[in-house]
Chain length 359, copies 2
DNA sequence: TCAATTTGCCAAAGCGCTTTGGAATTTCTT
DNA sequence: AAGAAATTCCAAAGCGCTTTGGCAAATTGA
């Protein structure tokens, strides 16, 4: 057990950056108890000594050992996030970085760290069990819930606090969630396209075992039904939301006898692929063919400015990360508080990617 | 200290998922020592008891508490990654997700977790100090090193093992790194464009306080010089690598009296923006104007297949993550081993985004 | 056969922190 | 001035694990 030891107590020759409570207390000639209390703001210590202690802590660069502290206090001050990778596609969700940046901001403010685990998509439950058993995290953020997701039941059973980004239709356990009103967003977007005169509208959706994708389709179908337009099932595809899939699906549809005049797409990345398919056929975006999309406000894909490129239902995934982190921390602090449910409406913005149907 | 306690030892009514070593040993009527040794594969325990112990551990869902284990052993089995956010741009690096997925794979195989911290780009050193002082991580992966990056000196000083994704020109401390040969990659790409007859070639680079961006420019300039072509400084920009910046920079250049006939771009995301600028002006990609780019092989931006869209220098950031994770674990295990330096050559692929210069 | 190993197990110390239950010391009452 | 009440501090126990140093019992050697 190589522990960096103090060469000379009372001398200046302290080991850089590794002072522990015991050493600090010896240095000050005060008990560990008092030092600990002084640093943690307990009232049983005079302001004079508190000042002295805090100063010493600063000059000697003391920070309590996180593991020891956690062991003593029974928590880890750590939140678990899980990257699920489907061995089939190996795709990493592009929203991941922005979501984490948002969450990380909140965590930092509350003194939490975030712990990441990568796992194959069907073994997530094992990871949760393990994180709980090892006490590695105090809570978990569940991303991309699926239809009838059994993960929530597992988390509920093992008693690990969690919040969900999205919702999981068909799950019976109670849980806190934050979601965008995906149904409504896509209904609205579809209505907008319909109002422009489009009838053959294609839906390029995410994988429909994901709950949000299913909701989006529902919204799309509702708008179409309301307008009395039949949905051509062959114009609805569900696929990984990559640029490549946007391209290939759009291309296939455009090659058909009756190509769509508008596309409703699940993400900007995917929409860029659709756009490429248009370009390839010499179709002008917003004139010959329209695209509306969902926009997660990814930081490297700005779709803002005066006139956005893409007509879109917009909701910041980064803000969602920040808010969910807050919700989880509340949940951890007050486990008996009622579950929180939070439905955000997407903002619909009109860009240059849509235009009236050209007879 | 709410600790879930065992209701009835010896009875079936064990608290789900929370058995500790002591309880397990009492359950088995064996000392903690022996149970611990049995589970950790020490030889001082008979095969019979080992079997018995391991079975009990499995049925009772026992996993050692990570913090207690870490405290006793003096490590955290945890690797730190830092998300730097420049308050100016607030951009999250889009390669982040894929890099983490690659690294996570390696970590999982070796029993490490990854810990994420978000921090403003100029306060990274503080975070490193804190991670070290609190003992939160056993090592760190440094991403996106800058010119004369002082972070490496800090890490070296505080004795926290680290590896670097990229290199930091002007740093004096020794360190292990893995980098793509960015200079060469851009030299090769520029040469390719030059061989196609292009002379007015624009460089849309990343921020040049980042080391890799500087190297890319060097490569570009070398190729131009070698071909005897003067570089027009106004055709070289350095900016955040977003789609928006790709668009706006390309647009500005295309509006000029003497627009470039080819673009050399720092990332596919950025290249998509350039492409948009071309479309807007009715310029055909690969015919009227050529684009060559760097391709990090992001999982959601496939540029593969028979004929890639973009002519590109290609190197998988995911593979880099996996390899760097391996390097760091080696470094932690054998701190006295010599530093490892690893230079990967990008693979140059020809796509449809480039074509001969149209006099 | 008896000493010398080896085998299989255990009690206890320690990792660095928090917190309980006092014990001194000071200050306040009357 | 003496007892009550704060105030200020401390020793020690405990969080759940690993590891040291030993002690019996089983095995071996001559």
């Amino acid at each position: 057990m190589a522990r960096h030891s103090l060469a000379f107590i009372g001398n200046k020759a302290l080991w850089k950056c590794v002072v522990n409570l015991k050493e600090l207390s010896e240095l000050l000639g005060i008990s560990q108890t008092t030092v600990s209390r002084a640093l943690n703001g307990y009232p049983e210590v005079s302001e004079a000594t508190r000042k002295r202690v805090m100063e010493a802590a600063r000059t000697h660069n003391y920070s309590p050992n996180a593991r020891a502290q956690g062991l003593a206090m029974g928590h880890s001050r750590c939140i678990g996030h899980v990257i699920s990778v489907r061995d089939s596609s190996e795709m990493v969700n592009p929203i991941f970085g922005d979501f984490m940046a948002g969450a990380g901001e909140t965590y930092a403010r509350h003194g939490y760290e975030m712990m990441l685990t990568r796992v194959e998509a069907d073994r997530e439950a094992d990871v949760y069990r393990n994180l709980k058993a090892r006490g590695s995290v105090d809570g978990i953020v569940v991303q991309a819930p699926r239809m009838n997701d059994q993960r929530l039941a597992v988390l509920d059973e093992i008693g690990l606090p969690f919040v969900v980004h999205g919702r999981a239709s068909g799950t019976t356990v109670p849980y806190s969630w934050l979601d965008v009103n995906n149904r409504r967003a896509f209904e609205e977007a579809a209505q907008y396209l319909l109002n422009l005169g489009h009838r053959r509208i294609a839906l390029i959706n995410g994988l429909e075992d994901l709950d949000f994708a299913r909701r989006r389709r529902t919204g799309f179908e509702a708008a179409m039904a309301q307008a009395g337009v039949d949905v051509d099932p062959s114009l609805m595809v569900t696929d990984d939301m990559t640029e490549g899939h946007g391209y290939s699906n759009a291309r296939a549809m455009l090659e058909r006898a009756e190509p769509p005049s508008a596309f409703l797409v699940s993400s900007i990345i995917c929409a860029l692929g659709v756009q490429r398919a248009l370009d390839e056929r010499g179709l002008r975006l917003g004139t010959d063919v329209s695209i509306a999309t969902f926009d997660d406000c990814l930081s490297y894909l700005g779709n803002g400015g005066e006139t956005p490129v893409f007509t879109a239902a917009r909701s910041s995934v980064r803000a969602a990360g920040a808010e969910l982190a807050d919700m989880l921390i509340q949940r951890i602090r007050t486990p008996d508080a009622p579950q929180v449910e939070c439905l955000w409406e997407a903002e619909f913005v009109v860009g240059t990617s849509t235009g009236p149907y050209q007879g």
